[in-house]
């Protein structure tokens, strides 16, 4: 059986008037999964999420149930559940609409996940610029508390959970989970050395699980529908529905929740094709940190394996689409400036490397590049990739290496005129 082209699960309530209110949520099966979950044991819930094959929606795709099972079974120290709502990866724009449209689904997921991991305090770390979602979450927490879904002795189960909505202050790196924990502790958001992993020593050095918004919001549906239901969507190793955020030069950009494994060709059909019929040139499958794809990749199944086999990554399924009018070196320069700005400065390859990469690209785009610059770029990328302290460094080189791989001619064209000048200068 194949699923429909669009499978609204997380997005199914979004069309309802005032979908963010508790009354709407309860009318549409809201908090029924929590009742069911609280009747089971934490071990059963961890097993359920493992069986479902749910993989992290924050970018790396780590199996959620496996991550949960790393939490120690004892409660020698408090356990924490931290929701990563720092959404800042360029192109990514799914968690913010989700929190605005259906904050209770995230809260219900938090309570179930916290129960499964024996945590009694959950934090939702929302990027500061996302003010309206912060408001909606706060209002939803109030409603949930008043209705007994949060607080002490939830629904008479004896389980207690406090939930704190915490606003960040503008730093992309705080999306990296250990930087997020430092930030949540009131420090500069800089990544920590791993191991120890958060499950061993996370927030306040206590066992902690960090999960993305979309990951946790998926949990109530898995509890209600079961693992087999979830696996009817998507592919064997990447099951489930996923919100694809389509932006850029298409007729109808927006949020499309489709089974994992959907291709760009299929997504383009859903969103009305390329804007004004101008052909596709390049696109990101999952944000700017995932290597670029081109029109050659229209039929790559967009799931964790498919994107990786084709030389990129699924990332956050932030599909940014650029048509033929956009210069690749320019786009790469813009992204590189972003990474330069957001590098936290903790490690040398990334801090210095992104600085030089941006300088070189700016010079090239300005028309003063030479062919050698391309080699220098690749050389600097080589010194950053795999040598940086966290994945921001690796992400920073993705647009450059993939941009040069597929569009070297465009970089060369920028240097053409300077070549002649140089020859003249030597003579």
């Amino acid at each position: 059986m194949t699923a429909d082209p669009i499978t609204p699960v997380l997005t199914k309530r979004w069309l309802s008037p005032q979908s963010w209110r508790l009354s709407t949520y309860e009318d549409l099966e809201g908090y029924s999964a929590l009742r069911k979950a609280l009747k089971g044991s934490p071990e059963q819930l961890v097993q359920l999420v493992k069986d479902s094959g749910l993989r992290g929606r924050g970018g790396a795709g780590f199996p959620a149930g496996v991550k949960w099972s790393f939490m120690p079974p004892n409660e020698d120290k408090p356990h924490y559940l931290v929701i990563n709502a720092d959404e800042g990866e360029p192109g990514t724009c799914k968690d913010i609409p989700l929190m605005m449209a259906d904050p209770h689904s995230l809260i219900e997921g938090c309570v179930i996940a916290a129960y499964a991991m024996r945590s009694h305090h959950c934090f939702i770390y929302v990027r500061g610029e996302a003010l309206h979602p912060i408001r909606r979450l706060n209002a939803a927490v109030r409603e949930a508390q008043a209705a007994g879904y949060l607080g002490a002795d939830i629904l008479g189960s004896g389980f207690d959970l406090e939930l704190t909505v915490h606003a960040g202050a503008g730093a992309y790196i705080c999306g990296e989970e250990t930087a997020l924990l430092d930030s949540l502790e009131g420090r500069r958001g800089q990544p920590r050395l791993k191991p120890p992993f958060p499950a061993a020593a996370g927030l306040y050095a206590a066992p902690t699980t960090v999960n993305n918004v979309e990951t946790i919001a998926s949990v109530p549906y898995i509890v209600n529908g079961g693992a087999d239901w979830f696996r009817q969507m998507g592919r064997e190793k990447s099951p489930g529905p996923k919100i694809f955020s389509i932006s850029g030069h298409v007729e109808r950009p927006g949020q499309y929740e489709a089974p994992l494994g959907t291709t760009l060709r299929e997504l383009l059909e859903l969103c009305g094709g390329m804007k004004d019929g101008i052909p596709l040139k390049f696109w990101t499958p999952g944000g700017s940190s995932t290597p670029l794809f081109t029109a050659e990749h229209l039929d790559v199944p967009l799931d964790f394996e498919g994107a990786a086999e084709a030389g990129s990554m699924l990332g956050t399924t932030a599909v940014q689409i650029f048509n033929e009018t956009v210069s690749v070196p320019w786009a790469v320069m813009k992204w590189t400036q972003f990474y330069e700005h957001e590098s936290c400065g903790k490690c040398t390859p990334c801090r210095e490397g992104t600085y030089w990469l941006a300088q070189i690209l700016e010079r090239m785009v300005d028309g003063h590049g030479t062919e050698e610059d391309i080699d220098t770029l690749l050389d600097v990328c080589d010194n950053i990739f795999g040598r940086s302290f966290c994945a921001l460094g690796d992400g920073a080189v993705s647009p450059i290496t993939s941009g040069i791989k597929y569009f070297r001619d465009e970089f060369l064209a920028l240097c053409e005129s300077n070549k002649r000048e140089l020859v003249g200068a030597q003579a």
Binding site: P8, W229, P253
Partner: protein, 286 residues
């Protein structure tokens, strides 16, 4: 122990003696060559934060298992009072949380949302990340800078048109991806979203702000001002239930956001049906 000596000369020449801090018996002010103009005053800065703010700061500290976690919200609180994070604001947070000013400063300067100069009544943030930029974000930012500049000099990043504290003053900044790419090019005023902008619509918007008007955002609460939203980011929402509800219920259901769900509804597409009562898996009890 070392003793004070002559002033070392610049250059590679090693000093013959090392220097020690003046002891308690030295009248530093007395021997200072810049006695009149250069000395720092000893009395502490008058605190611009009243008892209510102190109480709120303490409430924030109590929200967390460890009080230091309240630092980010507290810096937002400080901005809600002063419109930026001043030196007094840093000292205030330090005092409330038992941290040194250096510790607080290190944090405050790390995050872009903490402004180090007084912000205008409104903060206008234009997304100039790649996708928005390609759709016109760069052009919007450039136009706004030129439009709000004076004497042919465009207004730059984190600069203010008008006088901070006065109605209609606007600080502009270029921002990184604001997680609204499907609605690009976007900008935010006080972190409320204005979607699908053009250079013309953005100019119209800032002109209205300069006149003291508050055009409604595409998504978000009715527009207030920078200080008021900083209060919400600190975690304090309107006490008045009705005002609170109006904020919360501000629009969010953009056409773009709903496109997938709408298309599915139109075509009759759904996720597979759920079984009536899917059991939780059996596991051995531990």
């Amino acid at each position: 122990m070392t003793t004070p000596s002559e002033t070392p000369r610049p250059g590679a020449e090693p000093a013959k003696e090392t220097f020690a801090a003046a002891g308690a018996d030295v009248d530093v002010v007395g021997i200072s060559p810049v006695r009149e103009e250069g000395m720092l005053a000893d009395e502490p800065l008058a605190s611009p934060f009243d008892a209510a703010t102190v109480a709120e700061a303490q409430a924030l500290a109590a929200r967390y298992p460890q009080s230091r976690s309240a630092l980010l919200p507290m810096l937002h609180l400080v901005q809600s009072v002063q419109g930026y994070v001043s030196q007094e604001g840093i000292a205030f947070c330090g005092e409330q949380l038992g941290l040194s000013e250096a510790e607080v400063s290190a944090v405050a300067t790390f995050y872009t949302m903490y402004k180090r100069k007084p912000c205008g009544e409104h903060l206008v943030s234009v997304c100039t990340n790649t996708l928005c930029a390609a759709l016109g974000g760069d052009a919007i930012y450039k136009r706004l800078g030129e439009h709000l500049g004076e004497d042919g000099k465009p207004l730059g990043h984190e600069q203010t048109a008008g006088t901070p504290g006065e109605q209609g003053s606007i600080t502009i900044e270029h921002a990184e991806c604001l997680a609204a790419c499907d609605l690009g090019p976007v900008l935010q005023v006080n972190y409320e979203y204005y979607d699908n902008q053009t250079p013309d619509s953005a100019v119209e918007l800032v002109d209205a702000l300069r006149r003291g008007e508050k055009p409604a955002p595409t998504r978000g609460a009715p527009l207030s001002d920078f200080k008021a939203v900083e209060r919400q980011l600190a975690g304090f929402f309107p006490e008045d239930e009705e005002a609170y509800r109006i904020d919360v219920d501000g629009p969010s259901q953009a056409v773009e956001t709903l496109r997938g769900a709408q298309l599915a509804a139109d075509r009759g597409w759904t996720a597979p049906a759920m079984a009536d009562d899917a059991p939780l898996p059996e596991v051995e009890a531990k």
